[in-house]
């Protein structure tokens, strides 16, 4: 919590630039929904926001947290330490009091804890509040466990001087769709929390947000990915449910019929990718998706799509692996599988969004690249991006909307499905062939007409044809933007959801006097040509990744960069605890490498 003015008496609120609030309870307490309300409020009041939550991978119940980082400037990470902890239970308090900074405030439910349970001499301001009994009193009896979250939301609204009117509006819209009594009870609990006298605790108010723009929206990464796919012209596809991918397919299933499309729940991952290839072969932009275990199962068919040159998008929302691994945790350990997972030389494009907003734009780009290069495009999102909420500028659809098209024009007499001197453009069923010869798509090695061919020369030529598309793309890609110093001590290289934490870490290291830059790769296969020259401007190059440093000491991106650039200065900062990077983890890791040499 960074104040812009000295703490004052409790009557005048202390001005704040940002604050990290952690709600800790059980998954059925509705703490995700209050976190969501706060995030949406931040979006509406031109504040920045980033959220973080843990969900137990059990069916119902179990400890859960939702952390909201609200700020008036740029918010790039979910917060290393909390300024405020709201503990719903004794176990929540015990597990999360360590995440509260010294001098932070802890609100706890007196129904589950007494003063004896509190950690003494911790420099923490403890405030006991009867969440449970005050809620029961306000709502009237029977709803013992329901509504506590709304009481807490009202209390937080009062402590931080949040815009009550807007917050109530957001809550009303959410509950308005349900039974009238649900909204009435929610607002009763909210008002009780708002009116509750928390005692002689400091009150805060955010300085007005500087985030510009007419329309800001707040959403999680899976939502933005889904809407990006629709804007890219996707109308068909198929998938199988798996955490943390499922919400994309659930939304596509409901949304696509509005656009005349169909999203099919398949019997398994193999069928899902096959149906998607079917729709793509039929002339549509189609998408399948999954998480790590499902991506493994799709690999044979993705290799087919490379061989037969079928354009399609495959989203992989990475989670902790291998095998069933950590279904509800974050990791970036599917990079190698995404690039090299199929048997044989099977080139495909691999992209990764850097934040929630970018999930929309990466989906648009994936659609364009799949069509242009007629090959599979894998998007590597991750569990952190999938569920965290951020606020950002609403995409300008007049600029980005792609109208889907089915090209059934008659193909000329000299049409070849697999020309050696051009990128494949398939003729879908329904397209007449002026020469009377109909094409076949195939996974056998083939000649230009799609006839099976075992010729050594043809396999060499066709392998090159499929690879050279990506060589061409690597030359077309712009070099990534550098954040911070364009030369100096160290360049930090990242990909995926670590964008914010890396950027924040670079700012911190520069403020400590180091000359540090950062690049974030959105295009992982192929990578833009010319990265090597950019790396030469720094004494050290450090890849920061959420995966294992492996047998030889390098993470997956670092391994790829070392292999392709033969630059021995490339080092790794890796971690495998299933949690997003904290700023101090990156700073400490990078500084250690800097001081070693």
């Amino acid at each position: 919590m960074s104040s812009v003015s000295a703490p004052s008496s409790s009557s005048a609120p202390t001005s704040l630039r940002n604050a990290v609030i952690r709600f800790a309870g059980n998954s059925q307490d509705g703490i995700q929904s209050i976190g969501g309300f706060l995030a949406r409020l931040a979006g509406r009041t031109a504040q920045e926001v980033m959220t973080y939550m843990t969900i137990p991978s059990t069916i119902s119940g179990g400890p859960s947290i939702f952390q909201v980082h609200l700020g008036s400037g740029e918010v790039l990470h979910e917060g290393d330490e909390a300024d405020v902890l709201v503990a719903f239970y004794k176990h929540s308090y015990q597990n999360h009091i360590g995440s509260l900074r010294k001098g932070g405030i802890c609100f706890y439910d007196t129904a589950d804890m007494t003063a004896e349970d509190l950690k003494q001499d911790s420099g923490i301001i403890h405030i006991g509040v009867p969440f449970t009994s005050a809620t029961v009193e306000a709502v009237g009896g029977s709803t013992r466990d329901r509504g506590k979250n709304m009481f807490v939301l009202g209390m937080v609204c009062a402590v931080f001087n949040l815009d009550k009117e807007k917050l109530v509006g957001i809550v009303s819209r959410q509950f308005g769709r349900k039974d009238e009594s649900v909204l009435r009870n929610a607002l009763l609990a909210f008002d009780a929390g708002f009116a509750y006298q928390v005692g002689d605790v400091e009150k805060f108010a955010f300085v007005p947000g500087e985030a510009p723009g007419s329309h800001r929206i707040s959403a999680d990464g899976n939502q933005m990915m889904t809407l990006g796919l629709i804007a890219a012209g996707v109308r068909y596809g198929s998938a199988y449910p798996i955490t943390p991918w499922s919400s994309i397919m659930e939304t596509l299933r409901v949304e696509l019929p509005k656009y005349g499309g169909i999203y099919v729940q398949a019997e398994d991952e193999l069928a899902a990718v096959a149906m998607t290839i079917g729709a793509a072969f039929a002339g549509h932009l189609a998408i399948t998706g999954s998480a790590g275990p499902g991506l493994s199962l799709k690999m044979e068919a993705l290799g087919y799509a490379s061989m037969a040159e079928i354009p399609l998008i495959c989203v992989n929302v990475q989670r902790g692996g291998p095998s069933t691994g950590l279904p509800t945790s974050v990791e970036q350990s599917d990079l190698m599988q995404a690039i090299y997972g199929s048997h044989g030389d099977s080139p495909r494009i691999v992209l990764a969004p850097k934040d929630v907003e970018d999930c929309f734009y990466i989906a648009l780009e994936a659609g364009k690249l799949a069509k242009k290069y007629s090959c599979p495009v894998i998007i590597l999102s991750d569990q952190a991006l999938s569920s965290r909420i951020e606020a950002f500028e609403e995409p300008d659809l007049d600029k980005h909307w792609v109208e889907p098209e089915l090209d059934l024009a008659t193909r000329p007499a000299d049409f070849k499905p697999y020309p050696l001197d051009a990128i494949t453009r398939h003729a879908p069923p329904g397209a007449k062939m002026a020469g009377g010869k109909y094409p076949i798509a195939t996974g056998l090695e083939h000649d230009e007409m799609g006839h099976p061919s075992g010729s050594p020369k043809m396999h060499t030529l066709m392998t090159a044809k499929r690879r050279n598309k990506l060589v061409q793309l690597s030359k077309e890609l712009p070099l990534p933007e550098i954040h911070g110093d364009t030369s100096g001590d160290v360049l930090v290289v990242g990909w995926g959801s670590t964008f914010g934490p890396i950027k924040e870490s670079v700012t911190r290291m520069r403020s400590e006097g180091h000359k540090v830059g950062a690049v974030h790769l959105r295009h992982l296969h192929p990578m833009p040509a010319g990265l090597g020259d950019l790396f030469k401007q720094y004494k050290h190059v450090v890849c920061v990744e959420m995966n294992d440093s492996g047998l030889y000491g390098y993470g997956q991106l670092a391994t790829l960069l070392r292999a392709s650039l033969a630059d021995p200065r490339i080092q790794s900062v890796c971690k495998t605890d299933g949690l997003a990077f904290r700023i101090r983890e990156i700073v400490t890791g990078v500084e250690k490498i800097m001081t070693q040499a």
Partner: protein, 299 residues
């Protein structure tokens, strides 16, 4: 390749127009007859040439699309049905035909057969069943009878074979027929009825592998001393599932004809109904406006 060029006059669909590469099957293979009869049925139905799609997975019979001069796709082992599902659902204007063998359909792709059938996807699936893996040179197949000697069961197969008719009945297929590659008139009638069925139609066609399981179907081949017993539909109600199960009790050699046929809505039709109902509530606004409104709700 979207340059518009003059559309040729509507062609008559002839065997010549439908013929592509010469089949690479072994001389004497039952699949030749299947291909010839399929040409004949298409000649009769006269669908627009460009709207015919042939799909296959892996196996000898799955080479079928290469021999058809139509839009075609030769996919991976066992996944022809879900691929065809993707085509059928996204392109109601095309006719989807899937070809494969017993390994592709009942073994590696067995799960897909169940689900394409229960979803009642509009397509026609021809299983050329030869009771053996031919392309890989004589291993036991899911329909090989007990005692069949192969390279993977040199002392004779010990696993009970699949009963294709019962399997298909249980999966919920809405048109199920059985025929024999040596009985071309019967095969033609079955193909035609299958294609004209509005839903998931499947025909199991006993098709001899002369290299690795010669004589497999002699017991239902009159020329070889067997009896080819057809189903008398005056006696068998094709909508009676229990009767069909009963009839499928013994398939050695069993009866040939339509075991089962019922009309259920296809997934294609049900999805379209959902699309129509959803879109009717949107008041005719453009697709871009639909997404814009969605963003407005997220402000």
């Amino acid at each position: 390749m979207s340059t518009a060029i003059d559309t040729p006059a509507a062609e008559k669909l002839t065997k010549k127009a439908l013929t592509a590469d010469h089949p690479t099957w072994c001389p004497g293979c039952g699949d030749f007859a299947v291909l010839n009869i399929f040409y004949r049925v298409l000649e009769k139905l006269q669908y627009p040439h460009e709207n015919i799609v042939c799909v296959a997975g892996i196996g000898c019979s799955s080479r079928f699309p290469y021999f058809m001069n139509t839009h075609g796709i030769h996919f991976i082992h066992g996944r022809a049905l879900p691929l065809a599902t993707g085509i059928s659902l996204s392109r109601p204007d095309v006719h989807v035909f899937v070809f494969g063998g017993d390994g592709d359909g009942f073994s590696i792709g067995g799960n897909h057969l169940n689900h394409a059938a229960r979803k009642n996807i509009k397509l026609t699936y021809v299983i050329m069943d030869n009771f053996v893996y031919g392309l890989t040179k004589k291993q036991t197949s899911p329909t090989s009878p007990i005692g069949f000697k192969s390279k993977t069961d040199p002392t004779g197969s010990i696993d009970r074979p699949i009963n294709p008719m019962r399997q298909l009945l249980a999966s919920g297929a809405t048109f199920i027929a059985r025929t024999h590659a040596a009985q071309v008139k019967h095969m033609e009638a079955m193909f035609e009825r299958a294609i004209l069925h509005d839903g998931f139609s499947v025909v199991e066609c006993l098709s001899e592998c002369v290299m690795f399981y010669s004589g497999a179907f002699d017991d239902s081949w009159p020329k070889k001393g067997g009896t080819f017993e057809t189903i008398d539909e005056a006696q068998h109600d094709v909508t009676d599932e229990t009767a069909a199960f009963k009839m499928a009790e013994n398939l050695a050699p069993g009866k040939f004809g339509v075991y089962y046929q019922v009309n259920h809505p296809t997934k294609n039709a049900l999805e379209q109904k959902w699309i129509d109902e959803t879109q009717s509530k949107l008041g005719g606004i453009s697709q871009k406006e639909i997404l814009k409104k969605r963003f407005e709700a997220m402000r």
